[in-house]
């Protein structure tokens, strides 16, 4: 039974993730005054890459990278319940709490680093170096906000946190939300914090050496991962969801905000973005933390 549920969760995340990517490409296309690709274009892309022949070989460690990332994304998804106040689509969340999810969020970049490091492509290595050096600064505001939320709701269980919010935390404690949102924009790889995969600088970064099936794996991974992260944010700050419609609505609003923000600004340099993240969002989150625990 649980296996069936997990499979369903995976399918939903896969489908919705690619749908959101399609919407992302269409909406940004509209910002750029053009029509944009078909809605399922990202899905077509990934299938096409599955059908390509593999031409490169850099040893098994290289191939392990995408697989670690994929399994990281899938396990992250399984530990995040889709809905509050019900055990449907809660996956493995009863076996692990928020700490597990936070730990798993770091697994992706790590797997990436392992794989890309053996690839021998200097641009890939540079992208990974950028990602790792940004990692701490990026997660810090998010962790602060999460700590505040855990102390507010008195629980580390995600569905309990979601259920605990009578008014959304995003409205009740806006500073915490803003702090976490900056991190979230970075986690989603949007400008101005998209230093990892900047094509004009490091040649698309970590993905530069991957082709064929492994690139397709990376694309599917990012689709699933995106949805998992969106659901996590909704659960933590936007009061969770009770049905699919509410979930889709809330995740989509969040997603829309993130991609709109991303198309407004150019990217920072790596040191700049670290500095910015350590100063502005962290300060905001700390103030939010103080205000939240004060009252």
């Amino acid at each position: 039974m649980i296996l069936l549920e997990l499979l369903l969760m995976l399918l939903v995340a896969y489908g919705v993730g690619f749908l959101y990517y399609g919407l992302y490409r269409n909406i940004t296309a509209r910002f750029q005054r053009r029509f944009g690709p078909p809605l399922w274009q990202s899905f077509f892309d990934s299938i096409k890459f599955f059908l390509k022949e593999e031409s490169t070989s850099h040893g098994w460690m290289f191939y392990l990278g995408p697989i670690i990332m994929m399994s990281g994304a899938i396990t992250t998804l399984f530990f995040i319940p889709f809905f509050k106040e019900t055990t449907n689509f809660s996956g493995l969340s009863s076996y692990g709490n928020l700490f597990v999810v936070l730990y798993l969020l770091v697994l992706g970049p790590l797997g990436n680093a392992l794989g890309v490091g053996t690839g021998g492509n200097p641009f890939g290595a540079m992208g990974v170096t950028r990602g790792l050096s940004r990692l701490f600064a990026l997660e810090l505001p998010f962790y602060i906000a999460v700590i505040a939320i855990m102390s507010l709701s008195g629980s580390a269980d995600i569905s309990e946190i979601a259920a605990h919010q009578s008014t959304m935390y995003a409205l009740a404690y806006p500073l915490l939300f803003i702090g976490a949102l900056f991190s979230f924009i970075g986690m989603m790889g949007q400008s101005p914090f998209d230093v990892v995969g900047a094509p004009v600088e490091v040649y698309s970064g970590p993905a530069s050496e991957f082709s064929g099936k492994f690139l397709a794996l990376l694309m599917s991974q990012s689709a699933i991962y995106t949805f998992a992260k969106l659901v996590l944010m909704v659960n933590l700050f936007l009061g969770g969801a009770q049905g699919f419609l509410e979930l889709l609505l809330k995740t989509f609003v969040l997603f829309l905000f993130v991609i709109s923000f991303g198309s407004l600004y150019g990217r920072f340099k790596t040191p700049q973005s670290i500095d910015f993240l350590l100063k502005v969002p962290t300060t905001i989150a700390v103030i939010g933390l103080i205000l939240a625990t004060w009252s």
């Binding site: 299938i47 053996t118 021998g120």
Partner: protein
């Protein structure tokens, strides 16, 4: 009126039903996905590169047809040889082409790739691209307009959909022929001799 991708979807699918009867359904599906998603290598090899920005950005928006840019050869399906090709560039094009993973296609723009074009008597450009690389589609013009380039892509998509675009197989089968021609103009060492090759470092970085 239907706008944007809906319209394109219709055009693409309209062409599809005619020439696919001989394919098995697995082949059909594979070619369909290949056709619907084309990643073009971001390499402006000649003057034709100047018409690429209008083709890929908002005025002609090639992404409607599933055509978009790819940063690295590993991820690209199509390399556009946009016009004349000097020896020095040819070396890089061959290296790039051989890095791309199958199936891969070559789109040749302009007169110069057919018979030398304006630079027919130049000492530093090749005259017939097909001697050095297998070409899937030629586009007429000097420079080809964005419409022509799109038309070239649409024709290429039709060929891919019908399973007829197989230049990469041709390149593998006749590799000796191509290599002989390449060596005739580039000398024994066809790959560019970079003084500092990152692959020389042990295990990469």
């Amino acid at each position: 009126m239907e706008e944007g991708f809906l319209l394109e979807q219709k055009t693409l699918e309209g062409d599809l039903n005619s020439e696919t009867s001989h394919q098995s359904s697995v082949d059909f599906l594979m070619n369909w996905f290949r056709k619907r998603s084309i990643f073009v290598l971001a390499y402006g090899t000649g003057c034709g590169a100047i018409e690429m920005p209008p083709t890929f950005t908002s005025r002609y928006d090639a992404e409607r047809l599933g055509i978009r840019g790819a940063a690295t050869p590993r991820q690209a399906d199509v390399i556009i040889v946009s016009g004349y090709c000097s020896y020095k560039t040819l070396r890089r094009i061959i290296r790039t082409y051989e890095q791309m993973s199958n199936p891969k296609y070559v789109l040749a723009l302009g007169s110069c790739t057919v018979n030398g074009g304006m630079y027919w008597d130049s000492y530093n450009t090749i005259k017939k691209l097909e001697d050095y690389l297998p070409v899937d589609m030629y586009v007429n013009g000097c420079m080809p307009r964005p419409e022509s380039i799109l038309e070239g892509f649409i024709e290429l998509q039709k060929e891919i959909g019908a399973g007829k675009a197989s230049s990469w197989q041709k390149y593998e089968e006749n590799h000796e022929f191509y290599r002989k021609n390449q060596e005739a103009v580039l000398g024994e060492k066809v790959e560019p001799s970079y003084e500092a090759d990152w692959y020389l470092y042990e295990g990469g970085l």
